[in-house]
Symmetry: C2
Subunit: 233 residues, 2 copies
């Protein structure tokens, strides 16, 4: 693998594990056993590294949120969207943590992230629209749909921060993908009142599968992971 790609990969890994604020360019170089000079040969500065990681993140989510316009959406599609978005969030989880600071210092990123958010909001709204067309949820006026979409976005992007801050025990929290995906439970909670009777039971059953286990239930739940695998096909 090219040094440049190794830098991106290691940076992402370290940022995710310990937070962008706690990782310096020297840390990244040390972790790869290369010199700082080498790192700065490939990237002008730390912001550039972060920006390139963002571009990857953006590409991934855009790919996940591609909406087929030639057929109606199914419940499986919806599940796929939810699973995928949380997968993406997991892979680039450092990003939302220090978002405001990152955007403060990089106007390219600020602009791109703004556009990205708006694309995501549009996609969510379009998904609701198509779910209504498919008879899964009741159709709603445009105004309500976009306000709903925004709430979905807020829940999705901030579920992780909630887990890390509010579920924190004595020690700092180490999060798992399984826990993160319990955010799907919260998103489906938002949809409940809008479900059409024909699909209500099925969605409620789906939601039930993501219900958080209460007190420190088995951290790695085999059955759960198996199901996740199944859903994603």
């Amino acid at each position: 693998m090219k040094t440049r790609d190794k830098i991106l990969l290691s940076s992402l890994e370290l940022f995710n594990e310990r937070g962008e604020r706690n990782i310096t360019t020297n840390h990244i170089a040390a972790h790869l056993a290369i010199s700082p000079g080498n790192l700065y040969y490939h990237f002008r500065n730390k912001s550039d590294i972060i920006y390139e990681i963002f571009l990857e993140y953006e590409k991934l989510v855009d790919y996940y949120l591609d909406i087929p316009e030639d057929r109606p959406l199914t419940l499986e599609d919806m599940t796929f969207y939810l699973e995928s978005v949380f997968d993406g969030l997991w892979s680039y989880r450092f990003f939302h943590r220090d978002l405001e600071y990152l955007l403060d210092g990089d106007s390219r990123l600020r602009q791109d992230y703004r556009d990205f958010t708006n694309r995501c909001l549009d996609a969510i709204s379009r998904i609701f629209e198509k779910l209504a067309e498919a008879g899964i949820i009741e159709p709603q006026p445009e105004e309500l749909r976009s306000a709903m979409s925004l709430n979905v976005w807020l829940v999705i992007t901030n579920w992780m921060a909630f887990l890390k801050t509010a579920h924190a025990g004595e020690a700092a929290v180490t999060l798992t993908l399984t826990e993160l995906k319990q955010g799907i439970y919260q998103v489906l909670t938002l949809e409940i009142p809008y479900l059409s009777p024909a699909y209500r039971d099925r969605v409620m059953a789906l939601r039930e599968k993501y219900r958080p286990h209460l007190p420190d239930a088995a951290a790695s739940d085999g059955a759960f992971d198996a199901r996740v695998g199944l859903i994603k096909k």
Copy 2:
């Protein structure tokens, strides 16, 4: 005013304006025209300053979220809760921005914040319960109520971050309290499906007052501010 209090006040002001990460203890001292030694005479370190500010924040929100148990809740109560919580969020807005990092470095704060969150979630849930008792919203099972409360919490605490990151124009954003309170629109959106017919129109009218103005509508809307003042009485 005592130097100690001045330090807390200036810190809060600077943190809110420029972010905790961008403000050093030396900045705070310089801003007050006191020596660093003086600052460190009053506080052992930066974390202690932040912790004390958190205690104030906690106290304020706990005070706002006090729920009268001797009478039913009214629509005015609900409005007051919403307005107050966003006021609190505004006054201590630096806090949620760097929350994860702050908690990482201070286990006292981590523990206290966790308890604080849970108190808030309970309060929100209790408010829903009492709104149902008052016939404003339809009663819901406990499980749904607490999942809903969590969604309300997520929307409330992250609305500001959304504004700052997604609504950002070319330049970094300067937020106003008025914009922040448009979060109330989002919260009320969550409640819509649960409103009882008798109150539906009134709540929808209330919600309408917080609707975001689309393209850069007059930043300081006199009528709006007047209404806010009225509501808070």
